[in-house]
């Protein structure tokens, strides 16, 4: 078998990522499976399956270079350590047994010799392998086919045996990728200047301490002092009583002992990965890693989706960035990362920037699933259904390439999530008005693990001639549990039309068509519709807003009764508490949990400051209130996007995810608009302080 390379983590072009090259030495042809497994276990499932590296996997490419050694195992060297295993100066080589391996490393198992050493040509062999197989390596991991313990690293290299753990490897990547210092202690006193690394210090002044923003004012500084300098131990909490809920890896103070001394130098936490390997990175190391890798991750908060992916009643967050997704779980108070996938999920779905996500409970299990559609990045269109994988992640259970029986995907297919057969499983309506000789509407029924086209309408819906400019909405206007299809066209005809098409689960029938006017409302092209049951009678009603076609802005509330839309209330220019303007944008949501759909309203264009407001329905009308410019610490802006959700799990849509490139926030609508959480660049729940 010739040498080869397998890219096992594909995050992006090498010039935009941190590239890790993995080389094996002493793996003969017959050992390749063991090599592959070791890489999978220790690097992919180990280092990149946990905390920081799991979260930021998108910053890295990993190339597994499959070098075939002529012999199995690596060369061995035996030292006579003269009883001083920590001192190499008096050691004598007893024997060297050379093997013909790809890189020529020699394992000694001697601590003072870094456990292993290079052979005569190792440097050249490593350079050649990297030059041949990896375009631009930043970090190099070399695995020796040697069962004994050991590892040696520096300068971006890590050379390890089969005997080490992933946690030690993650610690070493803390040096190699993050430039972090060791935080463990040995006997010794430091008296030098301030160290350069961010996670160790000689400074005991709270006001100038480099990680002061993460230290709670109630925490003493220093927090731990070594009472017995010279004993080689790292100090724990010694100053007063340690709070009962103190976390040894997440709560920050100033603890004496770090970077190979036990006094005079301090570390931020009792036990970080840079001391004990197993704990996750402390807030200081984590923040440094995140900052250094931020550009390489390509992460932003542009594409955020809300969904209850574990069925606990609280809406979680899915973030899509290029070829990756991250899923954060809500516990009602904060968000925590539970899933990170780069390039693909098992199944497989390969993520791309053009993926569009549709969230719904497609299998009726009480948890939300994800339909993902891509019509721009591949040679054909793809539709996939991603479901809970049983361990907080997602896996693909159905994929349709180019077509499904009865529907051929096209670039401008638009999907609408709706349980049109009322069986508790969300289905899909799909519309295409652009890519064929005439428009199509399809009804795609979900059985929980796949979709079937149960009906298709070519050119016409019952009582409705489809046109490219048709705009669709879903909502159960009959109250029979089946979500129906609403269609409006204000552009393609001489007068605007609104059609209400009832679903019987298999097909649609025209229940009512409004030509040009609604009761008390002259329809115009700029009408914007929001479908929802605003009076709590179990039938979907309709809000209509028009800010562009009249001298003033109008908002109408139309109640559905007896297959007819009745005008409940029309607001001309103002809702009590809100002066309507041309660029008001609305989001429909039951803010109070009373079973009546209300409105969020946002305007960042027509006033000097931005306004975010709520319009609460009492069934017959609306009452509005608003915040100007700021909601708590959130400075409203034109780049802000909103996702209605129930983050707190109160049975109402009283929360908003608000997001833009760098910032992500969670707002609460009632009783007043307020900000619950705010995150900058990344979502992390610091016990105290924050990363800005």
């Amino acid at each position: 078998m010739p040498d080869s390379v397998t890219q096992i983590l594909k995050s992006g072009p090498p010039g935009t990522k941190i590239n890790i090259a993995v080389l094996g030495d002493g793996f003969a042809d017959s050992d390749q499976a063991a090599y592959n497994q070791r890489v999978a276990d220790v690097l992919m499932d180990g280092v990149f399956g946990h905390d920081y590296f799991f979260e930021d996997a998108q910053a890295f490419n990993i190339y597994r270079v499959n070098l075939i050694s002529n012999e199995s195992g690596v060369s061995q060297r035996v030292y006579d350590e003269k009883g001083t295993p920590s001192d190499a100066s008096d050691d004598v080589i007893v024997s060297t047994t050379l093997k013909d391996t790809a890189l020529g490393y020699i394992y000694s198992g001697s601590w003072a010799h870094c456990w292993l050493e290079s052979g005569a040509n190792t440097g050249t062999l490593v350079d050649d392998a990297l030059d041949t197989w990896v375009p631009d390596a930043d970090l190099v991991l070399i695995i020796l086919n040697e069962p004994g313990f050991g590892g040696c690293g520096g300068g971006g290299f890590q050379i390890v045996t089969m005997g080490g753990s992933w946690a030690v490897m993650a610690h070493e990547f803390g040096h190699g990728a993050g430039g972090l210092a060791d935080e463990y202690c040995r006997s010794g006193t430091y008296s030098g200047s301030e160290p350069g690394q961010v996670n160790v210090t000689a400074n005991t002044n709270r006001n100038t301490l480099k990680w002061r923003k993460f230290v709670n004012p109630s925490t003493p500084v220093p927090t731990g002092i070594n009472d017995n300098p010279g004993d080689g131990s790292c100090a724990g909490w010694t100053e007063g009583t340690k709070p009962t809920n103190w976390s040894s890896s997440d709560d920050v103070g100033l603890f004496e002992g770090a970077q190979y001394v036990d006094s005079g130098k301090y570390r931020p936490v009792i036990n970080c990965r840079m001391r004990g390997n197993s704990p996750p990175f402390c807030p200081i190391c984590y923040t440094e890693m995140k900052s250094k890798m931020y550009t390489s991750t390509g992460h932003s908060f542009h594409k955020c989706y809300a969904g209850d992916f574990n069925g606990d009643g609280k809406d979680d967050l899915l973030i899509h960035n290029g070829n990756s997704i991250l899923v954060y779980r809500s516990d009602g108070i904060q968000l925590s990362l539970v899933f990170s996938a780069v390039e693909r999920v098992p199944g497989s779905w390969q993520f791309k920037p053009g993926d569009k996500f549709y969230i719904g409970d497609f299998n009726g299990d009480g948890k939300d699933e994800v339909v993902v559609y891509n019509s721009t990045d591949w040679v054909m269109e793809y539709l996939g259904l991603l479901v809970d994988d049983g361990s907080d992640g997602l896996r693909l259970v159905a994929r349709y390439d180019n077509a499904m029986p009865g529907w051929q995907f096209q670039k401008n297919d638009a999907f609408y999530v709706a349980d049109f057969d009322g069986n508790g499983r969300d289905d899909l309506f799909v519309f295409n008005g652009d890519n064929w000789a005439f428009p199509y509407v399809g009804m795609l029924r979900s059985n929980g693990s796949s979709f079937t086209v149960v009906n298709r309408y070519d050119a016409n819906l019952p009582g409705w001639q489809m046109r490219p400019g048709d705009r669709h909405y879903v909502g159960d206007f009959t109250g029979d549990g089946r979500e129906d299809l609403w269609v409006f066209n204000g552009d393609d005809w001489s007068i605007p039309y609104l059609g209400l098409l009832r679903s019987n689960g298999n097909s649609l029938s025209m229940a009512r068509r409004f030509d040009g006017t609604l009761p008390g409302w002259q329809m115009r092209p700029g009408d914007k519709h929001y479908i929802g049951d605003f009076d709590g009678d179990g039938k979907a009603d309709m809000y209509v807003f028009n800010g562009e076609n009249w001298s003033i802005a109008y908002l109408g509330m139309f109640r559905m009764m007896d297959n007819w839309l009745h005008l409940t209330r029309r607001y001309d220019g103002a809702v009590p508490g809100w002066q309507m303007r041309r660029h008001d944008s609305h989001y429909i949501a039951d803010l109070t949990g009373d079973g009546r759909k209300d409105l969020y309203v946002y305007n960042h264009e027509d006033w000097t400051p931005e306004y975010l407001g709520t319009m609460i329905s009492h069934g017959h009308g609306l009452t509005a209130s608003w915040r100007e410019d700021w909601v708590g610490e959130w400075n409203l802006g034109s780049v802000d996007r909103f996702e209605v959700c129930d983050f707190e799990g109160v049975g109402a849509d009283r929360n908003l995810f608000v997001h833009n490139q760098y910032w992500f926030g969670v707002m609460r609508a009632s009783p007043n608009l307020s900000l619950l959480k705010i995150y900058y660049k990344w979502i992390h729940n610091y016990r105290y302080g924050r990363n800005w």
């Binding site: 300068g155 060791d182 298709r456 306004y611």
Partner: protein, 260 residues
């Protein structure tokens, strides 16, 4: 818009009876004159009560199958999703970049390898984070800036059996080491190598997440910034046959890529 309205546009009024804002006085109010059908290509186009089927035969979907296929149990073994044939080898296009492997020995810097890498490079940023940083200039023009996490220290793993004297890393400080400089291919030519200047700094920073504009490094106190090594121009012939070849080949590949 009335003067009162103009005053109002500055901010929402909290008053329940706040005046209506006239957005465009030239437009009508709803409920006035009935809206006349607008003409499209001089015709009034209205939707029929029962539209007739389209007669189009080209660019239409295949007919809906008469029999529905039983849904499959799972995705089975799926092929890779197919990228267009003309998709670039790397995901995004860019001019490519020259990757220089630079060797530092006691403050002296030499180029020991070069290659061209296709695809984009992270945008040139002036910001660096604490640790080792490099700055590359051609003449006075900054062409690359970067962070280098570590170079100078080699560490052996702590002894797993707990022998007291072997706890912690076995540390070996290196006086010579390599690091990588990446320069966008459209920012440097082979002929400008003699004007290439690379400086290696160690900036101690202030805390986690700190960034600094590299142009501000010189303003940092000396205790915070140390210049570790410098390279002043590269004369390919002086780099040795192999490196000279590698430099030539890298710039050749860069030229080819640019021509494409």
């Amino acid at each position: 818009m009335t003067s009162q309205d103009k005053e109002n546009v500055k901010s929402q009024s909290a008053k329940q009876d706040a005046p209506t804002i006239i957005e465009d006085a030239d437009k009508p109010s709803m409920g006035g004159e009935p809206v006349k059908p607008r003409r499209i290509d001089r015709k009034v186009v209205l939707m029929a009560e029962e539209p007739s089927p389209s007669r189009a035969t080209r660019n239409t979907m295949e007919p809906l199958p008469k029999r529905r296929r039983k849904p499959s149990d799972g995705p089975g073994d799926l092929e890779e999703q197919r990228a267009p044939d003309d998709a670039p080898e790397v995901d995004e296009e860019g001019p490519g970049y020259i990757r220089l492997r630079v060797h530092v020995d006691e403050g002296d810097m030499t180029v020991r390898d070069a290659r061209f890498v296709a695809g984009p490079l992270n945008k040139l940023s002036d910001e660096v984070t604490p640790g080792l940083n490099y700055e590359a200039k051609v003449g006075r023009r900054r062409v690359a800036v970067g962070d280098i996490p570590e170079t100078t220290e080699w560490r052996g793993y702590p002894d797993p059996t707990g022998r007291p004297e072997l706890q912690g890393h076995h540390i070996v400080e290196q006086t010579s080491y390599d690091f990588t400089v990446r320069i966008p291919a459209d920012q440097i030519e082979e002929s400008s190598l003699q004007d290439l200047r690379i400086d290696l700094f160690r900036w101690k920073g202030r805390g986690p997440g700190d960034h600094i504009d590299i142009t501000e490094l010189s303003k940092e106190p000396k205790a915070a910034v140390e210049r570790l090594a410098s390279l002043r121009g590269v004369e390919p012939k002086a780099t040795g046959d192999q490196v000279e070849k590698r430099l030539k080949s890298a710039f050749q590949a860069a030229r080819k890529s640019t021509e494409r």
